[in-house]
């Protein structure tokens, strides 16, 4: 198979994947730094390069609402947004998931106001983590492209919507080498659109989104939770098939030099790339360090996380969002909780970093590994929750 090698930004990569998916409907609203995705896709529509009908909605709330209508009518549906846009969609996120509509959002991780800021952190998708959407984080443009294609297939397998995200500017606007699959290979991979139901089937009318009270609501939610469990198998299956067909396999995480590591950093998104550089440097010096990159945060692969990490001496979790609970970030809470059942629990610390697009430097990551080394040696933690790269 002939892959095309091009230079593309994260936004361009996601827009390209959307073009190849060729959805029935895209309804979207622009917001920095995801605007380009919408713009590029609009020109695909204007130039007749897709069959998609584009709805230039008057807000993100309406964009996702239109997506819900479009998907309930049996269409394959996608959108794109970031930050405030995702926050404005918040109400409808839960409805899309509750109605089991396999919509895909190409999301760019940007800080939520306030104060207003257009740069990267994960506060937007983290605030949506309990909405019933599959969440896939991408380290670079290639992953953003690969993840978008896989997300469509995973979503339609389990009838849950999915968010694929990239870090604002760091990935969304950085030109990188990208391998693009042939259009027909992408179409063959995602297959015919699988829809949960079809409002346009007027001969078999159904009522959707009705009032669901104490006697049924819980059962419906229970099924949704079960679907999220099933999504685990779908993530693995689709990631494996992607590898078999196109060369790169995907799973819940990427374990980088973790085989014999004692100390690990856990990160999502572009920071994983920087951390790999630091791991290599420290390995040169003989430190047994590794990186555990989380690709899929929803569903949370708790068993697998436990198995991969329980033999570590110490782990630092990098959170690019704070839970505002005075007790650290969301990734910290969840990963630490996964390890609660293990017999010898590793020490787990938390580093909040990079809020509002503050850069994270290799030296800072190195300092985290050094902290971990000390913590592991002494067996005790002085600072459980740390703030990295902030003036205080």
């Amino acid at each position: 198979m002939e892959k095309m090698i091009v230079a593309k930004t994260g936004n361009e990569a996601m827009a390209e994947a959307m073009r190849q998916i060729n959805p029935d409907v895209v309804a979207a609203y622009p917001i920095t730094p995801a605007t380009e995705v919408v713009q590029i896709f609009s020109s695909f529509v204007a130039d007749g390069r897709v069959d998609t009908e584009f709805v230039p909605a008057e807000s993100e709330h309406s964009a996702l609402s239109a997506c819900v209508g479009a998907a309930a009518a049996g269409g394959r549906v996608m959108t794109s947004t970031a930050s405030q846009g995702l926050a404005l969609m918040h109400e409808v996120l839960f409805i899309a998931a509750g109605l089991r509509l396999p919509i895909v959002i190409c999301e760019v991780n940007r800080s939520l106001s306030g104060p207003i800021n257009i740069h990267c952190d994960h506060s937007d998708t983290m605030a949506s983590r309990d909405s019933g959407w599959i969440q896939i984080y991408s380290e670079d443009s290639q992953e953003a492209y690969d993840n978008t294609i896989q997300a469509m297939k995973i979503a339609e397998k389990v009838f849950l919507p999915a968010i694929v995200s990239v870090d604002a500017f760091i990935i969304s606007h950085s030109m990188e080498r990208l391998e693009i699959l042939p259009d027909e290979e992408v179409q063959a991979f995602i297959g015919e659109h699988r829809k949960p139901y079809d409002l346009l089937d007027v001969d078999n009318p159904i009522t959707l989104g009705g009032l669901d009270l104490q006697d049924y609501f819980f059962e419906h939610k229970r099924q949704e939770i079960e679907a999220m469990k099933e999504a685990k198998a779908a993530v693995i299956e689709v990631g494996k098939e992607f590898g078999e067909k196109f060369g790169t396999s995907y799973g819940f995480f990427e374990e980088y030099r973790m085989e014999d590591a004692d100390l690990a950093i856990i990160a999502l998104g572009s920071t994983a790339g920087t951390t790999k550089v630091v791991v290599n440097a420290l390995r040169e010096k003989g430190m047994k360090v590794g990186l555990f990159k989380i690709r899929v945060f929803r569903p949370l692969a708790s068993e697998e996380i436990k198995k991969s990490l329980e033999h570590m001496k110490a782990i630092a979790i990098l959170d690019r969002a704070d839970g505002m609970s005075s007790f650290g970030g969301p990734v910290f809470h969840e990963i630490r909780s996964c390890l609660y059942e293990s017999e010898k629990r590793p020490i787990v610390t938390n580093y909040i970093y990079g809020l509002g697009g503050r850069d994270i430097f290799p030296e800072e990551i190195e300092s985290v590994y050094k902290d971990l080394e000390k913590v592991a040696e002494k067996g005790e933690v002085k600072n459980l929750i740390n703030y990295l790269g902030v003036r205080e």
Binding site: S65, A66, G69, Y216
Partner: protein, 308 residues
């Protein structure tokens, strides 16, 4: 245009078993719309009385496809359905003509869903939006909306000892939507079923976005005996508080001109929500309300006369 006799022999598509209050006009309105629209129609309903009373799982009063998304987004949701329909039609996957009708109460339309409606109309989706206007948020216990009449008591504009009910005139949503320059906008009321169903039929025949605002008397919120709903509807038209008219391609046309315009009080005095206006100290409210009705009616007459 089917006759009432013909319509009544059609199979109901919004059917019995819904849990609306006795005398609820909104359920009559939906039943008539569904009859006219027929089975190749998809309905989207906003959160509010009509969604709540008609779709309690595992039951449904709908024999046509129905979708409820949320409170403020039924227009956007309908626009999504219409877009999939267009997309699949273009791809040759569907050939049937299918109507999309989105509806909401006055809260879901005048207030929280105003933006969503405006967007859908401006994008010119081929759909009908229908507002059943019972002039308050009934589902949540009769709170004021921007459609609530001047002086009316609601639970958030109570007739108190200092402030006698709602202090603002209702928003003229029909004209606001007409200002979107869509092909067809109309105001209707359920007592005049022939006028109303004709408007629905017309709206569905026209390509592009159409909007109908239907007054929907509500015994619970307006506080009158349930058997008077149709009378309430009729009086609203006869007092010219709720003119029956249409705006087709920008031209206003009045569909009902009372031979003798009744004073507004003939309508308000029958409703508990205006009870406080009967006291001498609130006479000025009645006068102000009447003046506003006159002003709006005269304006409408002039527009119709000038064919604008």
């Amino acid at each position: 245009m089917p006759s009432l006799k013909q319509l009544s022999s059609e199979k109901d598509l919004f059917t019995y078993g819904h849990r609306a209050c006795a005398g609820c006009a909104a359920s009559i309105i939906l039943r008539q719309v569904a009859l006219v629209a027929g089975k190749n129609t998809i309905f989207v309903g906003a959160t509010g009385c009509m969604e709540v009373v008609s779709t309690i799982f595992p039951y449904t009063a709908w024999k046509v496809p129905f979708l409820h998304n949320a409170f403020e987004n039924s227009a956007a949701t309908g626009s999504g359905i219409e877009t999939t329909y267009r997309s699949l039609k273009k791809r040759g996957k569907i050939t049937k003509k299918i109507n999309v009708i989105a509806f909401g109460g006055d809260g879901g339309t005048y207030d929280i869903g105003f933006q969503s409606l405006s967007g859908a109309m401006e994008r010119r989706h081929d759909m009908l939006y229908l507002c059943y206007n019972n002039e308050a948020y009934m589902n949540t216990g009769i709170q004021r909306s921007s459609a609530t009449p001047f002086g009316a008591h609601t639970t958030t504009s109570p007739a108190g000892t200092v402030i006698p009910g709602k202090q603002q005139f209702p928003k003229d949503l029909t004209e606001a939507i007409a200002a979107h320059d869509i092909p067809y906008v109309a105001q209707a009321a359920p007592h005049n079923w022939a006028d109303f169903t004709k408007k629905v039929e017309k709206a569905l025949t026209i390509e592009g976005p159409t909007f109908i605002n239907v007054l929907s008397p509500c015994p619970l919120g307006w506080v009158y005996p349930p058997h008077l709903s149709i009378k309430m509807s009729k009086l609203a038209a006869e007092t010219c508080f709720w003119p029956l008219y249409e705006v087709e391609n920008g031209i206003h046309k009045i569909n009902f001109k009372p031979r003798e315009k009744k004073p507004l009080i003939e309508w308000t005095k029958l409703q508990g929500r205006f009870r406080h206006l009967l006291s001498e100290s609130n006479k000025h409210i009645v006068e102000e309300a009447q003046k506003e009705v006159d002003r709006k009616w005269n304006r409408l007459l002039k527009m119709a006369e000038a064919k604008i």
